[in-house]
Amino acid sequence: MLSHQGEIPLRLELRGITKRFGDLVANDHIDITVEPGEVHALLGENGAGKSTLMNQLYGLLQPDEGEILVDGEAKVFRTPRDAIAAGIGMVHQHFMLVPVFTVAENIALGAEDVRGGPLGILDRRRNRRDVLATSEKYGLPVDPDALVENLPVGAQQRVEIVKALTRDVDLLILDEPTAVLTPQETDELLTVMRSLAETGKSIVFITHKLREVKAIADRITVIRRGRTVGVASPDTSEDELAAMMVGREVSLEVSKSPAEPGREVLKISGLIVDDDRGVRAVDRVDLTVRAGEVLGIAGVQGNGQTELVEAIVGLRGIRAGRLELDNESLADMGTKKILRSGVGYIPEDRSHDGVVKEFSVAENLVLDMYDRPPFGNAFKLNPKAVSENAGERVEQFDIRTSSADHAVSTLSGGNQQKVVVAREMSRPLRLMIASQPTRGVDVGSVEFIHNQIIHERDNGTAVLVVSSELDEVVGLADRIAVMYRGRILATVSPDMPREEIGLLMAGITSAPAEEEETE
């Protein structure tokens, strides 16, 4: 299984790849060349056809036209097995691991070491040794005996990469590998990618995140609506890359006037919240959000932000402390009442908590107001008002759908998020909570959603933004609270250098936070 021969560089060429699904042309004559030892970024918005292209390269789909050349020789991949045999491996966006298996078992799965013929016994020891050898060789620490379900996401991804590498591949496709990673894990991954490239492996890196592309890629191919729109070098500016991706000029900076903070709308003091396992997630947090300002909460995901926000909207019980909205206690109020007293909530996991995918756009737009006039009452719905409301919101929030009666699942991620944003912002608000408001959202929609959040602030709403993307927090917030292990380490100005905020996010407070505000 393990490569004992030297590294054979692999040169990949895709020529005129075309793939149609019915009338939709997902890939339209795409040409890409990946040189040996190159990190080649494939940049494009959600739905641009990146994953379709890679699935053809990995044998999961067959191209309608065009050819795949490996080292100058045309190949046909009918199954992933063919692709692996030709030296191509893939790490999927959603990991293909068995949670209850150990790391070593997962890596062996599908290519088990067996002693004594096809009906023989598994050679677990050799398998384990191979895993350790690969892990050491490429500097990818994994514990072969750990159960995958107990590993953090970043470690699971390393398992996937080690799994691909033990199959002796020379070209590794990474499909949106950073979508699920924390900033630190992302940095680690980028280092791993660089060192793999140095050993002669080629890497195809699929993403829509510009910063990462610029940090790691040797060459960038930009795809838009199934076509190659150009090949760029990492020197290209982010604005130019974004324009290539979206097809028009986009502003990556959030433009806003200085905040004019008013009364204290949300007051949190001494808040203690436990997570699902009963472990303390929010530890004595004090925060204040004023009308007309954006308070950003920066922090690596999993430091209590989720629990904090859930406690505010009544989805999670609190152990101690006070939660007040305009001096009225939110504790024991219930989510429905809290939302109706003027709190808007954009949950961090859109498809899990934000929308009901089977429901139409129109129904999702009234998901939390369906039994209030004009959309209905405690007894019945008013379909006319629901559909009129949908027409207005679709227009106002630029939701791209051919009909508001279509299921939300037919929309792109960005447009699904716009449905959530439209729903939460279409009623008078005192407090707006936006958790990861642009996760998995295309560049064009990010700009729109950011502008809506600032617009809400300018209307005098208190806004709380939680994001694990520091850029987003810095761009939106008027004040930034850095959260680490359930505590607010400091409240700083967005003008503070990124590196210092980054240190705070890692829990390092040795440098005194000079700009800390006094409440």
């Binding site: 036209e65 429905k336 899990h352 009901v356 379909p383």
Partner: protein, 422 residues
């Protein structure tokens, strides 16, 4: 093997320059795998397999196959005769019997005989509509109500006891007895609903257990003094007073007012699911509980209320069965209506009107099966096999699509919804 770009691409899509004619468009739509097509084809496939079973299970016809090579026509004719007669009986027994109809026209028969097939079909269908709706509405809310049987049994018990124990004026007595059945079923649904909402106890387990409790309770109750018919020694209750009986067409027709009630309730359930605030909640909770919770809905309350409604429907079905068809309580009074309700809901794809149609189809198979058994001596169990085959094909739409090479259109998502029950 290498692909050559210059050679004709293997699957280049046809040029769509001409407008499709209406007919070809119609056929294309018909042939694409929509749920109606899959249902109809499933029934067809089940009948084909049923035909094979009919032939195989008849020793006389089977004997003719022993000399198939010398005279194939014997075996084929005998098979054809048997199968066609069986299926003709299935039709005549359930929908329309031309001979009885002709007899009525020329004065030698009665109109009752001409209408009897339809009457039988609707009689069998009536309780299934209620139990089917019970399962369907629970399913839309993400619950797998296996407890339709127990809820129907409790509906039978309370409806039946109210039917013979009270002495009330006609009409009022009927309404009270039906309400007793409804409330009994609702209570039997409330328990698993509350357990699910409050503690997360899986409704499949709790409802199955409550089925046993209900059935055994019925078996005990009909032997008690005051319930058991004093003139009988076996397990049978007193007869329902005529004031509590559902009005029926003149004997021997058995169809009663229950079928009208079934249609009204179907319309009510359709309104409840699609147009009411509670329906919005239950659909949201059924499709995505976390999102419903985030939007401020109470998932526990929805589950509880939903099981109350589902149980009430099944209980009403049980009461209708007692007050319309059975007239007294026996250990078997509810038959299998709760479990058949599961299959009816499945066949109707958990839509209220679909469930009504599926119940009528089930009733038709049952009514026709009776005639088939009397006339050609084919066991009634064959009908059960047919019903089972239809459900298997419907539950595996991919199989039907492969057999008929249907376009993979908006496929029936039943497989997924079935898996979700667990």
């Amino acid at each position: 093997m290498t692909t050559d770009v210059d050679a004709a691409p293997p699957s280049s899509p046809p040029k769509k320059e001409k407008e499709d004619s209406f007919l070809s468009l119609f056929l294309k739509n018909l042939w694409s795998a929509n749920t109606v097509t899959v249902t109809v084809l499933s029934i067809f496939l089940a009948l084909v397999i049923g035909a094979v079973l009919i032939v195989v299970s008849d020793s006389a016809v089977l004997a003719k196959f022993s000399y198939f090579t010398s005279r194939p026509s014997d075996a084929l004719t005998a098979s054809w005769d048997l199968v066609s007669q069986a299926y003709a009986d299935l039709f005549k027994g359930s929908i329309f019997d031309p001979e009885a109809f002709a007899a009525w026209i020329d004065g030698t028969g009665t109109w009752q005989a001409a209408l009897n097939p339809i009457s039988e079909t609707l009689t069998y269908a009536t309780p299934l509509v209620f139990t089917g709706l019970s399962v369907a509405i629970a399913f839309r809310g993400g619950l797998f109500n296996i407890g339709g049987q127990g809820q129907a049994v409790i509906g039978c018990v309370l409806g039946g006891v109210a039917g013979f124990a009270f002495d009330l004026p006609p009409g009022l007595h009927l309404i009270v007895a039906l309400l007793f059945g409804l409330i009994g079923g609702a209570l039997w649904g409330f328990l698993p609903g509350l357990l699910k909402g409050r503690t997360g106890a899986h409704e499949v387990i709790t409802t199955i257990m409550l089925n046993y409790v209900a059935t055994l309770f019925l078996g005990w109750l009909i032997l008690q003094k005051g319930v058991q018919d004093p003139d009988r020694t076996d397990a049978i209750s007193k007869a329902i007073r005529s004031s509590a009986e559902l009005p029926a067409l003149p004997s021997p027709l058995r169809v009663h007012l229950g079928i009208v009630l079934a249609v009204l309730v179907t319309a009510g359930v359709a309104w409840l699911i699609n147009r009411s605030s509670f329906g919005f909640e239950l659909r949201a909770v059924g499709a995505n509980p976390p999102a419903a919770r985030t939007a401020g809905m109470s998932v526990a309350r929805t589950y509880t209320l939903l099981m109350v409604v589902a149980g009430g429907l099944a209980g009403l079905g049980g009461a209708v069965q007692v007050l319309g068809t059975a007239d007294k309580l026996t250990a078997q009074v509810a038959g299998n209506i709760g479990f058949d309700g599961l299959l009816v809901a499945l066949l109707g794809r958990n839509k209220p009107w679909g469930t009504l149609l599926a119940a009528i189809l089930y009733g038709a198979l049952r009514a026709g099966g009776n005639l088939m058994q009397v006339d050609v001596g084919i066991s009634l169990e064959l009908v059960t096999v047919l019903q089972a085959l239809i459900v298997i094909f419907i539950a595996a739409p991919a199989l039907v699509k492969t057999i008929f090479h249907l376009r993979a259109a908006r496929a029936a998502r039943l497989g997924a919804s079935l898996a979700k029950g667990w």
